[in-house]
Amino acid sequence: MNENVLAPTALPAGRSSWLHRYANPGRFLRLARPCLPWLAGFSLVLTVTGLVWGYYFAPADWEQGDAARIMYVHVPAAWVAMAGYAALAVASFFSLIWRHPLADVAAEEIGPVGAGFTFVCLVSGALWGKPMWGAYWVWDARLTSVLVLFFLYLGHIALIRAFDNPQHGHRAAAILALVGAVNLPIIVFSVQWWNTLHQGNTISISGGSKIYVTMLYPLLIASLGFYLTFITLVVARMSASIMEKKTRNLLLAAAERS
């Protein structure tokens, strides 16, 4: 039994190593590099299949006509934007609690990609809103909460790079990401809590989706493609970031030697 309470024994190997083993940037790089071509290939195939199916082969909506095809882009982009922020919050939690360098890298690289998908969601929704609602933008609860999500992403991107000491930037941005996570349930339930111009939830995991299968299948395939595209982009950016840091360290070490 360990008597020294100030220096307790490490966690049992099985419990502590699971997290730390895969949080090592070098190991992540060794795992990610061979996976990247496969990830990119699958994401390309699924995204193209879903979009082409939705664009050419899925039926037009009886009321909205071809304008409804916007959902094959808008809905996957919205889902990925929210999932991306959830991933950002998880990485920030790991960064704050365990100070994992890989969690910092993940948080830094998820931000710009998530902001991009949120931008696509907002722009595609605005382009659909003009012919359907008569306005590009309304201060509806769903639209406003997604705009807040976009600003949270931008704030995170700015904050993480705002300090001379990167550690301070990562810490401040992690707190912002965790506080901002409260916006996610607001986005999801905004159409139930408030009277919104934005339509209610159409897809339900527990069944009872209000969409016909000929539209549902291309939507799900496009969504899977968007998720994989997001993962591919984040993994590629994380790998590039790790390699850039490694190169910088090697150059610094060489400069110190000479």
């Binding site: 071809d66 095809r69 990609v113 595609s124 382009l127 003009k130 950016r237 590039a240 970031s241 850039e244």
Partner: protein, 49 residues
């Protein structure tokens, strides 16, 4: 006269298809360029060591 009439354009443009596809292509291209540059620079630095 409306500023933007969706029915005047092909669905590729009036929907978000055009913008989104261009966005995805641009972001993927930039990411690929960054990744390849990082890989090349690391390989060069390691070989020069």
């Amino acid at each position: 006269m409306t500023f933007f009439n969706a029915s005047q354009f092909a669905p590729f443009i009036n929907g978000s298809y055009g913008i989104s596809v261009l966005f995805l292509i641009a972001v993927s291209f930039l990411t690929l360029t960054r990744y390849r540059t990082a890989t090349k620079r690391l390989a060069q630095t390691e070989s020069a060591k």
